[in-house]
């Protein structure tokens, strides 16, 4: 794979507006270098999913638009493109909801994605390669996807995204609704996938600890803006991350309302 100059994905002062009234994302700029895992952290409603949707393309019914700024993938601008074109360009999304087609079997779910133009043999080979990462799916080939367990469905979602032969994989809330053991397992596989297939991963996570464990570089979102970024070591040592995202109070003493002044530290973000 040739190295392209500059990041694989560059987001520049992005602004996304829903229904012409609600600004979900404001002035976000970030870069995803090739071959890395980049984490996007933040609480509910911070704008993480909107960011992923903006990159992977808005559907007609969302009534959302990128109103300012741009998104460049391999040097080409892709904002406000149609989702299927972005998928064909090499970006695949593992969504948070609607992970699979509920009334199709696992095998059909893997056959549906429209990947790049290639021969049937190549396509078959890739499906098998993908299946190797998730041996469990091979046993479930003829099971209807709606009947899978949460973990199995997540595996299917990742596998069907990989079938599209993406260069950039966007993962939305991998850990949501899964037991910690399953999450660790999936994360390990994700790292393995990244290494063996040479793809770049953008990981959106509410679970900061999980994300920091695998990501090379992360951005923290709050209210639609980036408030902090850095590599995992720097973020883990940052006192605000420790307090607000990792749940480690400074000093270890029991918290009381007298410590309210600590919450004013959040204002530091915007300083």
């Amino acid at each position: 794979m040739s190295e392209i100059p500059g990041p694989l994905l560059a987001v520049d002062k992005l602004e996304v507006v829903y229904q012409r009234a609600i600004t979900a994302v404001q002035g976000i700029s970030l870069a995803v270098p090739q071959g890395r895992i980049v984490g996007i952290l933040g609480t509910n409603g911070a704008g993480k999913t909107t960011l992923l949707r903006a990159i992977s393309g808005f559907h007609g019914i969302d009534d959302a638009r990128v109103t300012e700024g741009g998104i460049r993938f391999k040097g080409r601008r892709i904002e406000n493109s149609e989702p299927h074109r972005i998928s064909r360009a090499g970006i695949a999304l593992v969504p948070e909801r609607d992970k699979a087609f509920p009334n199709l079997t696992v095998a059909e779910n893997l056959a549906v994605p429209a990947g790049p133009r290639e021969s049937t043999a190549e396509r078959r080979r890739r499906e098998e390669r993908v299946a190797q990462f998730f041996p469990r799916l091979a046993d479930l080939r003829h099971r209807i996807a709606g009947l899978l367990s949460g973990g199995e469905r997540q595996m299917l979602a990742i596998a069907s995204a990989l079938v599209c032969k993406p260069e950039l994989l966007l993962v939305d809330e991998l850990s949501l609704g899964l037991a910690p053991v399953a999450v660790d397992d999936l994360m390990a596989r994700l790292v393995e996938i990244k290494r063996e297939l040479g793809i770049t991963v953008m990981l959106v996570e509410q679970s900061t600890a999980v994300a920091l464990a695998v990501a090379d570089y992360s951005y923290v979102l709050e209210n639609g803006r980036i408030v902090l970024d850095g590599d995992s070591a720097r973020l883990r040592d940052h006192p605000d991350i420790q307090e607000f995202y990792l749940g480690q109070a400074s000093g270890g003493a029991r918290r009381s309302y007298r410590d309210v002044k600590q919450y004013r530290r959040s204002r530091r973000w915007y300083g």
Partner: protein, 290 residues
């Protein structure tokens, strides 16, 4: 015995028309109330091609069917595509308006006179004798055969074909389908094209059997309860619904009152809406998707 034959023929008619409703609804969640008019358009296209290919009936029919496929695709691309982001009800009303527009245009182009394409194509619609003293006309028999063929082909296509799989996927989750590289507009256009094709086939065979006039669109509308009774997103349901509605209609006309013919399908519809609105084989959650 003749009653049974009548039921089979009517059920085949309804089924062939109903699968058009199901195709469009299942894939794009839109109820195409212009289906009856599109069906009629197919028959009028046969009148047109019959003038050019009057001695080659097979070519005339094939040409008309092919043109109808094109019409369906164009209807999606130029009209329905603009309504994909809107409320479903607005899209349905657009199809109603389209039906009205087509109705007017067809009369303007071809006049409201009754047409007999079978005569023009020199097809003699002779009666075939069946056991039990029943009779069936050639075109009616062709229609039954065509319905069987179409359903077989559709089942195979949806189950095994690549685009059939994409159509099923797009029907279940359009956003995910788009995110997996499926061009939704292409899928919807294909669904509309197939729907118009099957409808036109029905219209053509009916026109060959008993002539073509303005009342054909009503048959199209009567087939809609058949689709709904079976479940608007189920092909199997369309078959079952057609059989039920046809049986009810033929029996009630025969034993009670011939005037009932137009209202029986809707009586069955009301009954089904009261008992089980999503139909016999439809997916239940459809109800809450307004």
């Amino acid at each position: 015995m003749q009653l049974a034959v009548n039921i089979v023929v009517l059920a085949a008619i309804y089924a062939l028309i109903a699968c058009g409703y199901v195709l469009v609804y299942r894939v794009s969640r839109v109820l195409n109330l212009a289906h009856g008019e599109l069906m009629m358009l197919g028959a009028y296209l046969l009148v047109m091609t019959a003038a050019s290919f009057s001695s080659h009936w097979l070519i005339a029919i094939a040409a008309a069917v092919g043109l109808s496929l094109l019409v369906g695709v164009l209807v999606y691309l130029f009209l329905m595509r603009k309504m994909t982001g809107e409320m479903v009800l607005a899209a349905v009303l657009t199809t109603v308006a389209l039906g009205i527009l087509l109705r007017g245009l067809m009369v303007l182009i071809w006049s409201a006179q009754q047409q007999y394409p079978a005569q023009r194509l020199e097809i003699t619609n002779f009666a075939i004798a069946l056991p039990g003293g029943a009779r069936i006309s050639l075109c009616a028999a062709m229609l039954v055969a065509a319905t069987a063929l179409v359903y077989g082909a559709l089942f195979a296509f949806l189950r095994f074909g690549r685009w059939g799989l994409r159509m099923r996927a797009a029907g279940q989750s359009p956003l995910l389908a788009a995110q997996r590289g499926i061009n939704l507009h292409a899928v919807y256009a294909l669904a509309w094209g197939l729907s118009t094709l099957t409808g036109a086939l029905a219209g053509i065979l009916i026109a060959l059997d008993s002539g073509l006039d303005q009342t054909m669109a009503i048959i199209g509308l009567k087939a809609f309860p058949a689709a709904l009774v079976g479940g608007l997103d189920s092909l199997v349901g369309a078959l079952a619904g057609s059989l039920i509605v046809a049986t009810a209609e033929v029996l009630l006309i025969h034993y009670v009152d011939p005037l009932l013919s137009e209202v029986v399908p809707f009586l069955v519809l009301i009954a089904m809406l009261v008992v089980r609105p999503w139909g016999l084989f439809g997916t239940r959650e459809e109800l809450d998707r307004v």
